[in-house]
Amino acid sequence: MEDGLINLGLVELRDKIASGEVKSIEAVEAVFGAIDKYEPTVGAYISTFKEQAIGKAKEVDQKIASGQKIGALGGVPVAIKDNMCTTFGATTCASKILEKFHAPYNSTAVQKLLDADAVIIGKTNLDEFAMGSSTENSGLKQTVNPWDVQRVPGGSSGGSAAAIAARLCYGALGSDTGGSIRQPCSFCGVVGLKPTYGRVSRYGLVAYGSSLDQIGPITKNVADAALLMNVISGHDAADSTSVSEDKAPVVDYLGEIDEGVEGLKIAVAPQLNAGADESVRKSVEEAIETYKKNGAKVIEVEMPHLDYAIAVYYVIATAEASSNLARYDGVHYGHRTVEPKDYVEVYSKSREEAFGQEVKRRIMLGTYALSSGYYDAYYLKALKVRNLIRQDFAKVFEKCDCIMMPVSPTTAFKIGEKTADPLQMYLADIYTIAVNLAGIPGVSIPCGFDNDKLPIGLQILAPAFEEQKLVRIARMYESQTDHHKQVPPLTTNL
């Protein structure tokens, strides 16, 4: 455990900046100090904006000095996954096809951070177009796990999770299509929240699986995630799938965070959990014991259709991806092949040259599933099973407040360990994927370490739009443990 400015939580730092105890510029300098030291090893960022960040920090400090009002994230350094459009820097999606793409507008989530006076430090690495579970599919660079540099940070928001773990910023945005916030947070020992589908605007989030994608916070602790949720949540006229506030009002997620949930009923699915490594299972069981000691009741449930979640996901997500990625045509923006022999080659050769293997694989799979003669057998069937999966969750939530399970069956694996067999990589998503299919919110919080001192995550799931309850439940555990305060050896040894 470590003290010092760089280890402060986002809420704590925000409060200290607002009270004048710490200057925003000091926090920004501390972050760039850490970046100078650790980023060459960790590789969390695709781009950083030092000058712009210093300018913004000075502006916030000036506002405070002159007694002006500042936003909810006044002066706090944050990072953004590089699949969200920004008018500053490039928006690459870690793909060679967008390496030089400069977005003409800010995504809504990023604009909300800016409006709240956050200081944007940089844009973080990811699996190309958020397709992957290890960040090894980045077309631009490799990010490593700060807890063990031989291992992956998880993915696809691996850059954001590694940046928080290595103290390279105070909060970050990720996106989660099948676990891409929760799984890297589990691997890196930080907190990640995937909101209900429709809670946060997807406007300006480069589309992968449009019925599954959702932006969410990655932070050192649960309160920090709640604060970021306060800033980024809400209806957006520019995203027709964002939910109107009369249907699901945005509440103050931070306000009642320490109040816990009286008479908490937790669902567990022992059958499902049996598939996890022993160290993971043990840690998750111990975490649930902690809840029991605090008066929670545990109810064993069955969710028979969750076994099919991976199969369903890799049909639906790839089908949506094949359609979404049709826009990379070498005409309007992005890479274009040199000297195409005809207009078809403008598309097919540009795409062949600039997409990575996993992206091509998913386009192929999705195109196949949607193609004439296979649509009913794959895509339509998957949509029906998706409904059964959603019903499994609905039934459990009739009698329970939340469901607890591991985030991932293993801790962080070695770089290169699973790249040769894509199906093995997909199967590791077993605990996270169903959540996106059902559209519900979930959070990953640190709940222990395995024998190699690699972090383990506890996953807590709640009914749609119950994020406030979700963070209260997560906070109940966090307030009694110190797993979330552990710092990777990297940041103390270098």
Binding site: Y308, A311, D342
Partner: protein
Amino acid sequence: MGGRISRKDVEKVAKLGRLQLSDAEIEEFTGQLGSILEYVEKMNELDTEGVEPLAHCLPISNILREDEAKESLGTEKTLANAPQREGEYFKVPKILDDSSGV
């Protein structure tokens, strides 16, 4: 494994997806897609007779707005990322040949 998807299928899908795959990639994807599809067919164990397909978790309806003219991106911003441009246009190779009569 194998047999689920042939080399010819992969070539056809690559054409549909506008990916000019190399021979090695076609070979690799034939095997990999075959085993992924075999796994995916696990769905067939379930009887989904009478189950409604679920494309979206939220009740999604058409959202309409007033038809008001608003400021748009403008030509320069729109063309700023163009791989090739000519004046105010995206430049692409000829789509129709001269004998098409169009």
